[in-house]
Structure formats: C-alpha cells, structure tokens
C-alpha cells in the first residue's frame, strides 16, 4: 500500500516535471542552458584566476555540465522560436543550421576531450579556459545578436 502510493506519487511527480518542461518555451530553455554553461565556466574561471583553490571534482563536474548541455543546446531552436522572450539568437541560425549545430557541438567535443585528460592544476584550467572560450566566441561571433 505504502509502496503503491509512492509509485503513484513518483509517477505524478514525473508527469508534473515533464509538463513543466513542455510548458517552457524553447527560448527560455536554451537561455537557461547557456546560463548553466556560464555557471560551469565560472567554476573553472575562479580556479584559473586563483580566486578558488584547485578542485579536481569541481573541474570534472563543470566540464561534464558543459559537454552534456551543449549536446542538447542546438536542438532548442525549432522553427517559430526565432523571436520572442528577448532572444539573442541571430536569424543566421535558421539560415546556416548545419554550421550552427557544428559550432555548438565543437564546444561539447572540446569539453569532452578535456574530460579525457582533466586539467591537473590552476595553469591547466587556465589553458582549458582559452580553448573553451575560443569555441564560445566562434559561435557567438555569427549566431548571437550584438547588444
């Protein structure tokens, strides 16, 4: 009886959760994904600048967040989501979809190769920041509207 109600509660929870996701507009979803990547980069940047001590676990977690988030990110640009919700997505995304997706995947791939040999000290995290920053800039140059 107890188990049954737990299963029902869990199932209900899942339903609510997916409903919440379904209700979230792609514009808002992709913005929160970029914020997640920014947060992970903040962890790495703090270590690179020496504001926080080196922490292998935190570095691994941050790189994992970047890698997984950036795999999902380019799928959040369906037709009809070109404007609205203060999106900074450039129209070029829908004109050069393949190039845009390749550039987004590049950041995921860069994070994955860093995971294969996790930077072992502050200087290593610093050079990882340069690699990741290059991928960010390459995409933002063309596909994010100037402010």
């Amino acid at each position: 009886m107890r188990l049954k109600s737990m299963i029902i509660a869990a199932g209900f929870g899942c339903l609510c959760l997916s409903a919440a996701f379904a209700q979230e507009e792609p514009q808002a979803l992709r913005q929160s994904q970029m914020k997640a990547v920014g947060g992970a980069l903040g962890t790495l940047g703090g270590i690179a600048k020496g504001e926080k001590p080196y922490d292998a676990q935190a570095v691994t977690a941050a790189l994992t967040t970047i890698s997984t988030t950036m795999k999902a990110f380019p799928n959040q640009f369906p037709a009809g989501s070109e404007t609205g919700a203060e999106t900074e997505a450039a129209p070029a995304i829908w004109q050069n979809t393949n190039d845009f997706q390749a550039k987004a995947q590049k950041l995921s791939a860069d994070a994955e190769s860093l995971l294969a040999a996790v930077p072992a000290d502050q200087a290593g995290v610093g050079s990882a920041m340069k690699t990741l920053g290059g991928a960010c800039g390459d995409c933002h140059q063309t596909y994010r509207l100037k402010r």
Binding site: G39, G42, G45, G133, Q141, R144
Partner: protein, 304 residues
Amino acid sequence: MASRWAKVLGAGVVVVAAGAGVAWALTKPDPHPDTYWAGLGEPDMVNGEHLFWAGGCASCHSAPNATGDALKVLSGGRALPSPFGTFHIPNISSDPGAGIGDWTLAEFGNAMTRGVGPDGEHLYPSFPYGSYARLSAKDINDLFGYLKTLPASSNVAPPHELQFPYNIRLAVGGWKFLYFNDRPRVELASADEKVRRGQFLAEGPGHCGECHTPRNALGGFLADQWLAGGPNPEGKGTIPDITPGSRDIGSWSEGDIASYLETGFTPDYDSVGGSMVEVQQNLAHLPKSDLEAIAAYLKAVPAR
C-alpha cells in the same frame, strides 16, 4: 578698360593658383624621406609577430571566414562597408605581383605610417594608418620582416566602390590635414611604464579607437570622446564605451579586462561576441604582460 579687366583677371588667376599651391602644399602625400627607413638591420621576428597580432592585420586582410593557419594568408578579398561606400580589402601577402612581395621597406613603411601608397598616392584611412603612425621605424622593419615569411596568394581584390566625392583620392589629403597625426590621443597623468606600453598598443597597432571612438560627418574622431563608443561604423548596432565611465565595462577591474582579452570571457563568464571575437582572438597571441598593459591603459584614460 580692357587692360584693367585683364589685370583683374590676371590677379584672380594668381590668387587661385596661389591658393591651389597652398592647398596642395598642405594636403599632398607626405612620405618619410628614404633615410628614415635606412640602416635598420635585421628584423626582430618576435616583435614582428606580436605586432602582426596586435595590429589585427588578419582580421581584414585574410580571406573571408578564415580561421587558424589560414589567418596568415593575407590574400585580401573581404568587403568593408562604411558610410562612404564599400572598401575591398587588398592582398598584402608576400606574392610579388598580387601582394606586397616586391615592395621596399620604405614603401611599406610609408603606407603604414604616412598613408602613402607605392605610387605616391594617398591611401584611404579605412586602412588605419592614422593609428599605425605610432609605430617606430624599427617596429615597421620588424613587422615587414615577419609579413615576408607568410604565404603568398595570387588573389586580386576588386577596386573600392565609393560615392562621390569620396572616390577622389586627392580629397584624402584634406582629411589628413584635418585629422592625421601621430600624437598621443589622450594626455595621461600616469608616466607608468606599463600604462605607456598599453597606450602604444591600444592607440598604435591595436587601433582600438578606430571603432570605439565616435566620429564626425567627415570621419574625424571626436577628440573629447576618445574610446567613448558610438554607432557601429560598419553598420547596425553600437560599439561600447570602453573608458572607466562605461556602463558596460566601467566596473571591471584591470585583471578582468586582461582576462577578457586573453580568454574572451567577461567577469560573469558571458563570452565575447560580434566583431570583437576576432580582435580578442588576435590579442590572445600576445604575452599576458601586454594584455595587462592594455588593461592598465584603459583604466587610465579619461572616463566618458
């Protein structure tokens, strides 16, 4: 009676001729004498490469959308839109026919620091010699030496497409008379060596002000608005104020600015975008001390 008219007419011709003579004297192409470029010896390739990246040569002179090693092939071919028309950026690769492979040091130096082409003609200031004029003869020798080591390309860019009267090269002499000089853009209270180095990099090779300083209708900088930002000269949008008074980066520390130039990340880990991406990626090739010098300079200029 007739002779009086002849006198008046004659005097008029003399006045006009004298006026034209004075105008020509003030606005004619004015290269450095050959002796200025003599005896500079072997170029320092390390300084030459630093100047190449600081100067952002590749951002205009490489092929459209070039990245990586292709940035070192200075084939030209990009178009630079402006309020005066479209400039087509020339080939400055080491190719002797299509590029600058057969130029002398004096020809290269006079283009870079005097805005004078190899045929003695005025160059358009879309090529930012108004900033590059701050490079020394030694710097020019080092950069020229480095450029010669880069690959040749046989690409030939189309001629510029400019509206009247901007298509008259002679008129550039008037612009130079009004706006061209190699003096410091701002007087700095600090004589600190780091700030001076930053001033050289930012006002000279880095040519930051070419985009970040607003201009008047004739394309001259508004002197009291140095680095204060303004409309994008290449089209839509605005270019941010980068003085300590900036609402975008005024709150950034010197370390924040240096770190942004090195990695492309803002202090809150947003990333560089738009045309600043290429600038940042070029500057990332410089030693960290140079990026720190630029940051120190940006903190030392008057707030706008």
